[in-house]
Symmetry: C2
């Protein structure tokens, strides 16, 4: 049996019947070819999952009946990815990957060397959310990452309350993971292709962000994001043994 | 000064003058816009680097004079990535990323659920090598990963001499990194989009491959590769403290 998953943000355990949005109906019935009586796992992005049966395989309004609800606890690791915007489809891919990796919050940043124009931000936001949902669907992550408003780095730092934070750094003063002091709720800063400026590194340091090296070579942003999240998650898990 | 890097596989410290291939000349002069008297770092992919001055900025045959040679030691971590082929450009991206991450060998695999037809393998190989060189150039890695011939998984396992190996696994019996027994020279198996079959997992297990979990959710191959290499490298480095 294929593992069908659909996003249904308004799930609630009292509901016996669920109608999907046109987008989700199309994805389930046309793209994934689910048929009547197939089992589908619905998730609301906030930890509720529902095993449901597809009753009307309509391409614009699929109808399902709920069989079993369950609540999935939030992970004890809470990673916020504060990342400088990247041009083109790379940023979409990164969003999908962060959902696969179980990041809890994405903070898009504009930095001095960011070369992306942000126009029509609500359309952009909707598109970005779709990539996050896609990552959740593919990976089985029932928690949709929280996507916050794009902000300038300096503005963000001025207002942010950072419990613990690290910045992936190409500078010489970076510290190996084992020497960092980080908590289970950590913000991870990833710079733009041309890196943060010296003055941005200073601002990050003033807010307590610890510089960490991801390895001996210079990683592209798309590689750095997955490498950093993986290393941070692993470090926090190992630390807990 | 921009950080120009070019691949020159026939570097040797006796040579004062180096001519680049047409491909590398084009990349340096046309794409990256290097000009006469610019400093360029040449690397041979086997640990020799040469700081050189661009003397003739010819788009088909750039000529440089050597200023300083240096030898870069090979990392003590030797990771072989044994990976099921993936359709389309994703595999190209993965190759570039493995070079950024400093993998020492790539073993492309055909598995039961691999959905890629391998035709014209020498043209393919040349294209793949180009992506590895690109990753080395971007990241500053002076060691070009060794690309071995594509092989069937069972044939490969029959002949491979695996000092230590792990397989990224979605099965319930996977072990956290901290409980694995792995050496600095490790082979990492990554399955196809539909995962290894039960019988392939059995063959891997018979050869001593230890099943490891990359986290709570199901990662796409492109995410799994970077996550697994990053976690393995980090684990091997932490283990050495």
């Amino acid at each position: 049996m294929p593992d069908f998953r659909s996003f249904a943000p308004e799930l609630c355990p009292e509901k016996d019947q669920i109608a999907l949005t046109p987008f989700e109906s199309h994805h389930l019935v046309t793209t994934n070819r689910a048929r009547e009586d197939d089992t589908v796992v619905l998730f609301d992005g906030a930890g509720i999952e529902c095993e449901a049966i597809l009753k009307i395989a309509n391409r614009r309004r699929a109808i399902l009946t709920a069989a079993r609800y369950r609540k999935v606890e939030r992970s004890c690791l809470q990673i916020t990815l504060a990342i400088a915007l990247i041009k083109g489809k790379t940023f979409d891919t990164i969003l999908r990957q962060t959902a696969e990796l179980g990041v809890s919050c994405i903070q898009p940043l504009i930095t001095e060397r960011t070369q992306v124009q942000v126009k029509n931000s609500s359309a952009k936001r909707e598109k970005w959310t779709q990539h996050l949902i896609e990552g959740c669907k593919q990976s089985g992550n029932p928690w949709l990452p929280n996507l916050t408003e794009t902000a300038g780095l300096e503005d963000y730092l001025e207002n942010a309350n950072l419990e613990s934070s690290v910045v992936a750094s190409l500078e010489d003063n970076s510290t190996p993971w084992k020497d960092l002091s980080i908590s289970k709720s950590t913000t991870l800063f990833i710079g733009p292709e041309g890196d943060f400026t010296r003055s941005e590194y200073d601002s990050l340091e003033k807010k307590g962000a610890q510089a960490v090296s991801l390895g001996p070579y210079v990683l592209k942003s798309e590689t750095a994001v997955v490498a950093a999240i993986s290393q941070l998650s692993q470090y926090l898990r190992l630390d807990n043994r």
